[in-house]
Each structure stands twice: as structure tokens, then as C-alpha cells.
Symmetry: C2
């Protein structure tokens, strides 16, 4: 690593409203000469949308278009191989920028180390160039704010689970926790509804938390969940 | 509720560094004529410390001094009664301010709806005056950023548990999760160390995440955990 290497900043943008990014993230985004962000091919991308209007006039953008999303099943070895090659390519580009002395801001929705794709760059870059992470407000925090009720009280246990888990395991975990957050709902909505019912509980679904389309409904009332949706069961712990 | 009622803002300050509060929180804090915050009697208080240097010259401060912390056991009915009376008093004061047309910013460390004391005001105030919540970066997000490793990957399940749980239950939950966050360590450090060992795992302890005294060590190496400490076990899920 050269002494003059630039830094790759993995910057958490928070849940989707520009004023919910941290002051540190705001400064880094506004000052960046180089930004990079993931997006679905052919789409503007949510991360890029959040920073619209904040960028330098001379900013250089590096969009990273996912080569696959749902076309190949997750358990198909081609899925991992295709994504690994994609992350390698992206990391190679960012590493070259940093080794050339440039700082780069990688935009990350929510928090960079809480699920999400930045982590796959982080593992590939951090052995070679300086990488710094700016934490962000995770989408779930905006979801429970939107719900109007605290998520955890006193000694409550919180479980965060993806709806991609097998239905029986999902039901077991829902029964075994005080408070619950479920992400990655999309195609798994019906499975999640059955698992919540099997656990004898009720949940709310928060769609587009902290975005203009924000909506909160009982999970049972929902027929179709957008990608930006999070299910919640609120804890009921000690409350003097 | 009068049409001219002010709003009580529960503002998440994030993990402890002023530039990790959101842009929205920053604006509310800097513009506030009235602020309120919890603190241990006789101490400056962490929430107040975070906003030092940001307040209006004519700000009116309402410190809320906890009447008890560890002097009365949590399961003693006097604990709940004493705290309930305290929260009632605080809420009465804030409600009067709002009903008199004043906006009030209640400073909340981390995120206002994720554990913490603001929730006890929220339940008492929201039937009577407008209450708005600004989510914040939870302390745990700064802790995993400090650890230098992502907390959750792919379909990892994350469990957030207080170290106050019975040791056997703590061990069971640690064994049954991919990624783990443990809060409220303090006096429960030895119990936590035993529970992590019983689950056959290893953890790191992050002290003072995002603060100048930040330190990350293997949990086993720690003899005494300060109040601001969080234990982590990182997930090991899918990573193409």
C-alpha cells in the first residue's frame, strides 16, 4: 500500500430520507470526487436516489450493476460464482482508484455492515487499501419509528430474521423472541404470514419506511410486499 | 389538545459522536429553544455531552435526574413505582410545555425506540400532545463498525439480548443464533463470558464505540466492562 493511497469510505446513507444520513455521511457525500453504488441493471438505484442533488458538479460516478438478482436461484453455484466475479471486478476498480491516491465514497443503503452488498467489497479491499466505515441508521429503525411504537423494552430479546428461512424455522424463531424484525420479505410474504400465525402472534408490515410512500399495515392485510418492506412484532417488556 | 400545541421530538443522537447524529437531528438540536435529557443524578449525562457546543444561547434545559439506578433491585416493586412516578413527573412538565405551544427536543442516546428511557415518556405523552420520533444510529451499529467486520451476511439471524437474562437462557440463545449483540453488560460480565463459552463460541467486546475511548478486545480478555460496552459475535453467512 502506498503512503499516498486514498481511502475507500463505506458510507451508510440510512433508511432513505437524505436528512436521515449522519452529518459525517452528509459531508463525505457532498465532498466526494468519486462515488460508487450498487444498483439493479437498468434502474437508477435507491442509494443514488438518496443523494440526488447533493453531489459535486465534477463528481465521477461508478455505478455497479448487479449481474443477477432473482434470475438464478441463490443455491445454484452459478449464483455465487457470478456474484463473486462481479464483486472482484468492482473491488479491482475501487482498489486502483485508491492506490492512485483517490478517495472514494461507496454509498450504502442503511448501515454498511448490516446485510447489504458493501461488505463484499470490504472483505476484498481492506487487505489492500484503507477502508473506513460510517455507520448508518438501519432501515429497521425507520420502520419501528414509522410504526409509532418502541420495538424493545427492558430486557426484551430482539430477533432479526430474513423471511428466506424455512417456514418451520421462521415460526420457531418468531415464537421464541420478544421483539421481531423480518427483512427480505418480497416473494416470501405468504410464508411469513403463515409462520407468524403458527407462532400465535400478530405483526405489522412497514413499507418504504422514511420514504414518501411510507405505509404501516397489519401484516395480515397485505397481499404484496415491495422490496423495501420490513415486518415487526413489538416487544412487551418491562415498562414502569 | 390545542391547535397551537407544540411538538415533543424524541431525537436519536446516535452512538456518541456528534457527527454521527442525523442531519435532521442536528437541525432540531441546534434550533431547539427547549431541550430535555435523562442523566444519572450528579453527572453531566452522555446525551447532554454529545450536544455540547451545539445549543442555542437562549436554550432552556430540563435535565431529568434518575431517582434510582442500581440501588433498588429491578424486581423490587419499589423500583417500578419510583421510576413510574419519575416518568410521570417528567412527562407532566413536557406536556405542559407542548400544550403551551412550545416545541421540545428530548435527547435520546442511540435510537429513541430501541431500549432507552424516551419510550417511557412517549407512552405518557403521545395520547395528549404531538410526539415525533427521529430515528438514530443505534450503539450496536457503531460497535460493529468499530470491530472492523460486518455483523450479518446473507441469511444470517441476528439476536440482540441483554446480559441480564438468566445464564442458561443466555447460553441457549447464543448457541441458537448466527450473529449476536449483547447489551447491558456491566455487572453481568462474568455471566456473559460463561454463557458464550457454554455455547462454544467466541465474542469481542467493544467499549465506548464511536467515542474517543473506543476499544475492541476479545471478550475473554476483559475483566471489567463499562456501561457503554457491547459484546458481538459476527455472523458467518453467505458471502460470494
Amino acid at each position: 500500500m502506498s503512503a499516498a493511497a486514498g481511502t475507500v469510505h463505506g458510507v451508510g446513507l440510512g433508511p432513505g430520507s437524505a436528512d436521515l444520513m449522519s452529518v459525517r455521511a452528509d459531508r463525505l457525500v457532498r465532498g466526494a470526487r468519486h462515488i460508487a453504488y450498487f444498483r439493479k441493471a437498468g434502474k437508477a438505484g435507491q442509494a443514488r436516489r438518496i443523494v440526488e442533488g447533493m453531489l459535486r458538479a465534477d463528481v465521477v460516478e461508478f455505478p455497479m450493476d448487479y449481474p443477477v438478482t432473482t434470475e438464478i436461484p441463490l443455491d445454484d453455484p452459478r449464483y455465487a460464482a457470478t456474484l463473486a466475479a462481479f464483486y472482484e471486478d468492482c473491488a479491482t476498480h475501487l482498489r486502483a482508484l485508491a492506490q492512485g491516491g483517490e478517495d472514494v465514497v461507496v454509498l450504502a443503503e442503511g448501515d454498511p455492515f448490516f446485510y447489504g452488498s458493501f461488505m463484499h467489497l470490504h472483505t476484498r479491499l481492506s487487505p489492500h487499501v484503507p477502508v473506513r466505515v460510517v455507520p448508518g441508521i438501519p432501515g429497521m429503525a425507520a420502520a419501528w419509528a414509522a410504526s409509532g411504537e418502541p420495538i424493545t423494552w427492558g430486557d426484551d430479546v430482539l430477533t432479526v430474521a430474513p423471511a428466506t428461512l424455512p417456514e418451520a424455522e421462521l415460526a420457531r424463531r418468531i415464537a421464541d423472541t420478544d421483539a421481531l424484525v423480518v427483512m427480505k420479505i418480497g416473494q416470501n410474504l405468504d410464508r411469513l404470514k403463515r409462520a407468524v400465525a403458527a407462532a400465535g402472534k400478530t405483526a405489522v408490515l412497514v413499507e418504504y419506511a422514511a420514504m414518501p410512500e411510507q405505509r404501516v399495515r397489519p401484516l395480515d392485510a397485505v397481499e404484496r410486499a415491495p422490496y423495501f418492506s420490513i415486518a415487526l412484532i413489538h416487544g412487551a417488556g418491562r415498562r414502569p
